[in-house]
């Protein structure tokens, strides 16, 4: 890891934080829970880390423990991602679906 790479990553980190602060301004109370739940599903992005981490076994290290940990991480992250988006979708359908006249 070169210092340049680290600085580039820190730049991403800081700019993304500023962007995140600006992104959410005024949200009606009805949407607080779905927004939280949707953002939560996005934080399951660690699935990418888990996928890359699971490559350890393939790379032939004597690191079964790491592989096992990465496997658990894949399962947990997938629950977070799939469950999170699905449950948010369900909530939004109930809130917003009726607005267009509903049944």
């Amino acid at each position: 890891m070169t210092p340049e790479f680290l600085i580039a990553n820190i730049t991403l980190f800081v700019l993304a934080i500023f962007l995140g602060f600006e992104l959410i301004t005024k949200v009606p109370a009805t949407l607080h829970t779905p927004l939280m739940s949707g953002a939560n599903a996005i934080s399951g992005i660690s699935i990418i880390g888990a996928l890359i981490g699971s490559n350890i076994l393939y790379e032939g290290g004597s690191t079964e423990l790491s592989g096992l940990l990465a496997f658990i991480a894949i399962v947990l992250a997938m629950i977070n991602v799939v469950g999170g988006f699905a449950v948010t979708n369900r909530m939004l359908n109930m809130i917003a679906g009726k607005k267009r006249g509903g049944k």
């Binding site: 959410i24 829970t33 949707g38 076994l57 423990l65 790491s66 991602v81």
Partner: protein, 471 residues
Amino acid sequence: MEDWVSVGYLISASLFIFGLKKLGHPRTAPYGNQLGALGMFVAVITTVLSMHLAGGAEWTLIVAGMIIGSSIGYWMAVKVEMTGMPELVALFNGFGGAASALVALSEVTKYINDANTLPTGLELTVTMVAAGLSALVGWMTLTGSLLAMYKLKGGVEIFGKWLRTPTWGPPWLNIVKVLLVVAVLVLIFMSIEDPTNVQYLWGIIAISCLLGIILVLPIGGADMPVVVSLLNSLSGIAAAFTGFIIGNSVLIIAGSLVGASGLILTFIMCKAMNRTLPDVLFKSFGGSEKQSLTRTKVGSDAEEVAMMVDGAQKIIIVPGYGMAVSQCQHQVKEFADLLEEKFDTEVKYAIHPVAGRMPGHMNVLLAEANVPYEQLIEMDEINSEFPECDMAVVIGANDTCNPAARSGEGPLAGMPIIDADKARTVVIIKRSLSVGYAGVDNDLFYEDKTMMLFGDGKKMMNELNTAIKDL
């Protein structure tokens, strides 16, 4: 990293940004959620493809893990009752935090098992600091979210016995929290010097788990949504730190986006309850200092209320957590339909921003019962209508319509409330006169114009509906 992989991650990050933006507006929210899901799909496909083109991977492990995780997640999301939604979000959030912490742990155990792979110099420092912080935030999110989930449920059943989740937090606990965070930071610093020391590693994990528990333990049920939102923000930060370890841009961007927007959402939610975040986190609320009841009130019965309902021009229904617990939203809808058909009454619903256990909780439940969206009115808009309203029907709500909040004293001071007490008559359906989460007695119950229907929400609504039909 190859160029096309970076482009894939860039697309994915952009989709997350648009998704979050659109999730904040009612009209575009479903679309925003789909954009987010698409972003995640792009990120996963990009990663899997890059691993394939790089010469394969441990496919059995990956495919099995992804199928198992997706199935469990999907099954839980579809199965859950609308009342259990807040708990499920807390649980998913804990899983996300744990996943980030596990990836960090997996990277570190790799070095510990095989010292040859140990990085040196700057990379070592960055890896150990990022892994330590990721562990701190990730494990804390897991234990905190699990406890928050049980607090939202109200308790846990062990061998058929219902144990109430405790709320406990003396002031000195705040000092312990600070000391524990410092201890973790010291351990992280020491692990840079001695990266293969397993004891430091376990120390960091154990303290972080403990921190999550004592962070959530003192917080009362009404503040739980705020805490879940804060933990959501933390799980994003954990993902960002994990991104630093493996040097992955999309993890850093998506993680810090969620971290920052989650924090803003936390502040918005605090504001809706007229509390500040430090108050929520460091001042124990409710639970311990409940007032004892000295007054009594004679309960009414359904027939009596039904007669009052007849002749009312305008009725406002004020739902609360009690409606969610007894699952009586369908009976409430039936009640409203009966009123409209039989007496041509105007019916509206007053939604307090923090009614229930999550913002929007009531909207979701009533929408499930097919209540038209136009009838759900937010607190600020409907409060002016109470003085001209013949009857307010409060179903399982307490603190959100407690006039004590106007007094400027006590735990509820300054919280915006629904002005149900300004209606000409007030009907309150509640199991007893007991205090709500804030632990404050409610004067509204004892007023002369108030009729109490003591009992479970569903049972009382059914009796009321029958009584109206029999009129």
